[in-house]
């Protein structure tokens, strides 16, 4: 089985090589090196499918696992290593990442043609692919964290690719900083686990945590806190409820980047994290995850209804779908959540690439200015329709199967724990809203009478290099769910959480309930999706009801949702404003205390130098001058004696001798 490890090495390092080559030599390579970058993801793309095939060929072994590790360095009592952890989930993720990345590379050749820094763009894309592949392949928490941050870095670079645009520069900063907030929590959780288990390796960590919980070294609460802290990282990266604000703004990046990062891979990293570290989450932590996912799913879906920017609709839809995945994982629908991750990667990257194609043709992102494009852009239209059908859960498309599985797990969970039935109800309504906003997008973009004649006349189908990936992804979107969960159901049997014995939740029971609830969930989800699509048709296709009138009638609620529940404003007031206030206080502190100290020391030195100057002037110079003055005085006095008159000298001699004699006499007389 060594060959799989070697293949994975090639898969991992080819994008890194192309990224490094492109960042240095993109001007010297033909066509800015885009073909090199595409080849360097194309080969891993083929190899990943080969690995996937090998995994299936091994034959439905849920415990299939290959590891290979090297010592990296030692921290305290534990080691950190380089290593691969290749199991079924890894194989699936490899396929997802390389496929979407390859499609995006090919599409970008068409979409980004003629942009500035064309080569650099491909370098960033390759760097991103490398980071994501490392994230998927690595076998320990430390390496996971490293690649996690690398993903954050490359997303920062790609979102801010049009860095001359002010909003793009702001958006990349926002994305980077917001995800950092979650990563701090994740890092603390990671350190908590390391402190307990003295290792980073997944399997050893799982075992260590299990032992800690069983032996009582960790209380249930500690276990839950560690899990929630780890999940904080996923909240940031997967744009879950409190930290979702960066994702809509990240639409400032080039559209293929949105497809790659904000649909298929980076945001999926959070879901992958929860799936990969599943045994580390206590039942309470999983419940927390489920509710976070539910809130996110529902609330992002409602925002998506009101937006007019085609990419923002998709962005909120992404957040909503990520919420679905999280909820699925939280309620124990492990396979359902990860399957939705896979199908979502296919149809959401398809939708984003389609929207890119539309934007390319219509030169606007505002859906109100589009319309009637289905005649002009048949390939884009049909592929996007497939994507929309898939995400809405139209039967036989991939999204139907995965979303259906999620709803079934939620219903099963609700049957097991009647207190938590709201999860299922929320998700079900969310499914209806999904159908509504997706078909609202389709109707507004492709069917309405053209709002702008000029735009309409100039719209045209995108070149083959852009439509090609669309077709590939459309086929995957349509079929992925069928061969994953459909009648074979191998995905569910193949992708199971890494089991370390009896600890942790036992999703099997929930899944069993899920199966019994499957039929109810399926019927309800079809009904809800159909209702959503029908209502959107009523509003935007037949125009029986006017959307504007309803918006006006719902006044305050509409405005609340349209303004994204004012969460950005809230953050601006609290987080940003608070930081500003804190900085102002610090500035005052700086000015008063620090500057005061500096000025005082300057003042002190000045005073001191003034004193020492005075000392120099008066004492030292005084001594020198005084000496000179004294010498002159002595000289002046002694010149008086040097009269040059001999008789004076005699007089003086006589006087002095007389004085000495007299003095001697006085002394001898009185002493």
């Amino acid at each position: 089985m060594h060959s799989v490890v070697e293949i994975c090495l090639i898969i991992l390092f080819l994008p890194l090589i192309s990224s490094t080559a492109l960042i240095f030599f993109n001007k010297r390579l033909p066509r800015g090196g885009d073909l090199l970058a595409t080849a360097c993801i194309g080969i891993p793309f083929c190899l990943a499918w080969y690995v996937f095939y090998r995994v299936i060929a091994v034959g439905h072994d849920p415990q299939f696992l290959i590891t290979g590790a090297m010592q990296w360095f030692t921290i305290g009592p534990g080691n950190a290593g380089w290593g691969f952890h290749i199991d079924n989930l890894t194989a699936v993720m490899l396929v997802v990442v390389t496929t979407v990345s390859f499609c995006v590379h090919v599409y970008s050749i068409g979409y980004m043609r003629g942009e500035d820094y064309y080569g650099r763009y491909f370098s960033y894309l390759s760097l991103f692919s490398f980071s994501m592949l490392l994230l998927v392949l690595c076998d320990n928490l430390l390496l996971l964290y490293v690649s996690w941050e690398l993903v954050g870095l490359s997303s920062y670079l790609l979102i801010g690719f049009f860095f001359r645009k002010h909003s793009a520069a702001d958006a990349c900063k926002k994305a980077f900083i917001t995800t950092r907030v979650g990563d701090v929590g994740m890092f603390i959780g990671l350190l908590m686990i390391y402190r307990q288990t003295h290792t980073f390796n997944y399997i050893e960590v799982f075992r260590g945590v299990q032992e800690a919980v069983q032996s009582g070294a960790w209380s249930e609460t500690t276990w839950t806190i560690a899990g929630i802290l780890l999940f904080c990282g996923a909240i940031g990266k997967s744009a879950q409820f409190p930290l979702h604000v960066w994702l809509p703004d990240a639409m400032e990046g080039p559209t293929p980047v949105s497809a790659l990062i904000h649909a298929a891979t980076m945001v999926a990293a959070g879901v992958y994290l929860v799936g990969r570290l599943y045994p580390l989450f206590s039942p309470d932590a999983l419940l927390f995850i489920a509710y976070t996912g539910l809130i996110t799913a529902f609330f992002a879906a409602t925002i998506a209804i009101t937006q007019f920017d085609i990419k923002r609709v998709l962005a909120y839809s992404t957040i909503s779908q990520l919420g679905y995945m999280m909820t699925a994982l939280g309620v124990g629908g492990f396979a359902a959540g990860l399957c939705h991750l896979m199908t979502h990667a296919a149809f959401k990257s398809l939708l984003f690439l389609c929207s890119g194609s539309v934007i390319h043709a219509a030169h606007t992102q505002d859906m109100r200015e589009m319309g009637s494009l289905h005649k002009k852009m048949p390939v884009t239209f049909w592929t996007m329709l497939i994507g929309a059908a898939a995400i809405s859960g139209v039967p036989l498309f991939s999204g139907f199967y995965s979303k259906d599985a999620i709803l079934a797990s939620a219903l099963g969970f609700g049957m097991e724990h009647p207190n938590h039935r709201i999860i299922f109800i929320g998700l079900l309504i969310g499914a209806g809203i999904t159908g509504f906003y997706m078909f609202r997008l389709i109707f507004m973009t492709f069917f309405r009478a053209p709002a702008d004649d000029h735009r309409y006349r100039h719209a045209h189908e995108s070149p083959r290099i852009m439509t090609g990936p669309l077709v590939v992804l459309a086929i995957l979107s349509a079929g992925a769910g069928w061969f994953a969960l459909g009648e074979h159901g191998w995905f569910e049997r193949l992708v199971v959480p890494y089991s370390v014995g009896t600890a942790g939740v036992a999703p099997a029971a929930v899944e069993a309930d899920g199966h019994s609830a499957h039929n109810i969930a399926m019927i309800l989800s079809i009904v809800m999706a159909g209702a959503g699509i029908l209502i959107s048709a009523v509003f935007y296709y037949w125009k029986t009801c006017s959307a504007e009138r309803w918006a006006k009638a719902l006044g305050p609620i509409y405005r609340l949702v349209y303004n994204k529940y004012y969460i950005d404003e809230l953050y601006k007031k609290t987080a940003v404003g608070g930081t500003l206030i804190a900085m102002r206080i610090l500035a005052v502190f700086d000015r008063v205390v620090i500057d005061g100290l500096v000025n005082f020391s300057a003042y002190f030195v000045r005073a001191w130098s003034y004193i020492s100057g005075a000392f120099d002037l008066h004492v030292v110079d005084g001594a020198v001058n005084g000496l000179a003055w004294g010498t002159r005085l002595v000289g002046t006095i002694s010149t008086l004696f040097q009269s040059g008159v001999v008789q004076n000298y005699i007089m003086k001699v006589v006087a002095i001798v007389a004085f000495i004699l007299l003095f001697q006499n006085i002394l001898t007389t009185f002493l």
């Binding site: 040059g644 008159v645 001999v646 008789q647 005699i650 007089m651 006589v654």
Partner: protein
Amino acid sequence: MMLQPTLSHYLVVSSCLFVLGLFILVTRRHAVRLLMGIELILNAANINLVAFNHYTATGLDGHVFAIFVMILAACEAAVALAIILAIYQQYANIDIDRMNSMRE
């Protein structure tokens, strides 16, 4: 009673001579008079030498020194008179206050 001369008498005489010589040296301006003052001082010393020799010592040391001094005084007078003569030829004057051309 017959007045016997003692050492004190000689010393008083010699003191008087010395003071007279000194007085002349300090007060007079005339070079020859100064020379005379010096002679007086030398002779006062001579009287002392002889008197001390007579009253205290046994040999002739005092006398010998007195004769030395007389010889020295003769030599000195000869040299000094020669200098004074030279000065007189130069300046037509022997007032010592005016012999200050070396000062400037």
